[in-house]
Amino acid sequence: MDVWSYIWAGMLAVFAGPEALAVFDIGISITLVMVIFGFLLGIVVGAIPGLGGPTAMAIALPILISVFGFAPDALLPVMGCLIGIMKGATIGGAVPAILFNTPGTPDSYMTTLDGYPMAQRGQAKKALRIAHFSSASGDTFSDVVLIVCAPFLALLVEAHLDLPEKTALLILSLSFVAAAVGGSVGKGLIATGLGLLAASVGTGEDFYPRLSLGAAALNRGFPIATSVLGVLIVGGVFHQMTQIAADRMRQSVPTPIPQETNGRLTWADRRALMPVIARSAVIGTVIGALPGIGSTLAASIGYTTAKARYAMRKGIPEFGQGAPQGVAATEAANSSVSGANMIPVLSLGIPGNTAAVFLILAAESIGGFAPGPSVFRFTTDSVNPELVIAFGLFTCMFVANLLNWTIGGIFMRSLGFLVRVPKQRLLPVVLVVTLTAVYVQDPRMEVIWFTLGFGVLGFGMRLVSMSPLPFVIAFILGGRLEDSARQAFAATGGDPWFLLTHPLAAAFVALSVLIVFIGVRSGRA
């Protein structure tokens, strides 16, 4: 098969896969239906403060696997739905940010700075249209970069990196995540270390169940779903519950502000916004491609860059006072992360942010698709099914993108009422659904205790302002790091210095140390 045949096969896998329903005798595939469903669900959860894309992905994943099973043809519907949620949540988060000064997702916090002042001036509809237009533009740009870059990066890695270099690359990724996520390098390193420790329990090549302390329940290690959902979701729920208890006296239900009926965005408006959108899209894409730093930082940098650029311009409101450029800069930056963060996932198997963690989790749970450099092997004499799935995923991303341009705007503008959904009722539901979903996937009572235990850990990490993301990424990469190091050691004839005797590996290790060093220095400064 040549490259075009693979692209075509990927598109066919999405559009001509198993049929879910027919409209006017035209069959619509189950994957397409799941992308649409995921996208609309993503906008809804994005518009509910306190939920957000990762929570929805976490809850949806086990349910989707229960419905679609473990067969390889489940991959595209399940991952398509998750991609839809990921993209939908980003634009959904802007709705309460603009209408009620309450960010639906953390990455839409900067949207409140100018979006809400616009709403106070009666321009909420226009602000929502700007958010949507910027978001869809950034998303499209990012997807194009993904499709162009991911295969080349994968081929480059496969062609030039040997086992010692691959081990060093994993160490570099973990160092980067530890140093870049959260405010403190020390806390990042502790979270990474804890993740590697948890990943070591019950695993390894030896037949003896390592670090199990003689407990039969630990012989099989911690299932990946218990640690990821426990630390990210259950820990988050515990933390938010305590915050609600603290804020109860101060909580008030936001009231809508009267709005102009005409909130049209003219072509002239769009043209005027294009430079700021383009700049933020590039910023978001570059940041999205780096592991560990996600859409919230992209939004902040996109906003501050635009603010610096437009500070002296006359004829537009000041940033923070309702500048359309402020909304556009934030939304273009945070939306352009979603495509680019798939670059390290698909080409290296390294998850860059929380949403990518769930895509890796889906691939690992279902099987038949192991994200990494081997996916992009363009075999000509036989079909590489993983490559077909990769192009199927690209197709799903473009379908979600198309939905963003078409129905996304109309749908998001109708969801202002969701800000009234009370968190104190929502969070227990999220907790119960998460625990049920974990149990359904692996029906043992131990998994509930593991999940709650990791939840307590996640809660504790939040209490001391330690980001749980390095823990989760280290847990996912821990097994690969160990395998890769063992293999490199064996392949080099038992050379214990293999990380230092191979120049590129040594350069990666030096870079890892440098990143941590710079992080510590800048933290002190």
Binding site: Y208, P209, G367, F369, D483, Q487, A491
Partner: protein
């Protein structure tokens, strides 16, 4: 060895025929939990799930597949050992789990006598494989390159195969850098990427060999490979050990004889039927069904356990 296998297969076929009537008579006391000792999505897992679906279709049993992976099947064996011996919990692993892996892990406290063998389903077309572009036509060429000073990386997917690769090198005066990876797919990927020079592959190489990209350098079995019968067997290379083995369904020890026969005949009927999805997959990926049941299977599991101790002893010297 070939004649022994043929006798075993014939005995198994007779046993299966005698037991056929029992499969339709037996009614499980509840849903059957099918533990799968392989990671989701691979050929082995797909085979198990196809069998589960076909058993439901043919007999109306509720069969619930469940992944219990890790430790070379010992996690599955531990879960199975403590399960009720009434036919409601069965597991699929490889014979290596009940032979080498149990012998190598005495602390696990399990031997083949703790289990009732139900039936094997398929063997492995295990070859030693390299890329065609290496320029090797048999493993003797690889030996020659290693003797010339090249450090060759040999990919294996289990400790047993690592021992066999070590002894293969030792018997032929060369030392390989033996790299253990997770599963045959990882060996194939490693060989394709150039991370490994050669490695064991248990059937996954068939498309690449047919296309001319890969070469079966040797058969790691006691008999020639079906796809490359001219490749030397390990016995030809001075090895007294080989990688013979099969996928095997097992239940806890103490399973009543009628339940054992019912389950064994039901499963062997599915895998032997070329019209079923399981039968087609086995024919395509694993070289066709290999069905050994009843006492013959129990004897084979016990013999593997003894042979594994010999392998461990030889590899430790």
């Amino acid at each position: 060895m070939t004649s022994i296998l043929s006798s075993l297969c014939m005995a198994a076929a007779l046993a299966a025929a005698a037991a056929t009537a029992n499969a339709s008579d037996w009614i499980p006391p509840g849903p059957i939990k099918m533990l799968i000792g392989f990671h989701a999505g691979g050929g082995a897992d797909t085979q198990a799930r196809f069998i589960a679906e076909e058993l439901e279709k043919r007999h109306g049993w509720a069969v619930i597949p469940k992944q219990v992976t890790g430790k070379g099947g010992l996690n599955l064996a531990a879960a199975l050992k403590s399960a009720p011996a009434d036919g409601t919990v069965i597991g699929i692993a490889v014979t290596e789990t009940f032979g080498y892996n149990m012998a190598a892990a005495p602390n696990a406290g399990m031997t083949p006598t703790d289990f009732t063998g139900l039936t094997t389903t398929a063997g492995f077309q295990m070859g030693v494989v390299s890329l065609r572009e290496k320029g090797w036509s048999t493993i003797e060429d690889a030996f020659a390159e290693a003797e010339g000073g090249a450090q060759l990386r040999f990919g294996v997917m289990s400790p047993r195969l690592a021992d066999i690769a070590y002894l293969l090198g030792k018997a032929n005066g060369v030392a390989f850098n033996i790299v253990e990876v997770r599963g045959g797919r990882a060996v194939l990927d490693g060989v394709n990427a150039g991370d490994l020079d050669l490695g064991f592959m248990a059937g996954i190489q068939s498309n690449g060999v047919a296309a001319g990209d890969l070469v079966n350098l040797a058969s790691a079995l006691s008999e020639p490979l079906k796809q490359t019968p001219e490749a030397p067997t390990f016995a030809d290379l001075g090895m007294s050990f080989n990688s013979d083995g099969q996928f095997v369904f097992v239940a806890p020890a103490g399973l009543p004889g009628d339940v054992q026969k019912a389950l064994a005949s039901a499963i062997s009927d599915v895998v032997s039927d070329p019209e079923t999805e399981a039968g087609q997959l086995i024919a395509k990926a694993f070289g066709g069904p290999v069905v050994v049941t009843g006492d013959a299977l129990q004897a084979q599991m016990a013999a593997d356990y003894v042979a594994a101790r010999e392998l461990l002893l030889a590899a430790s010297q």
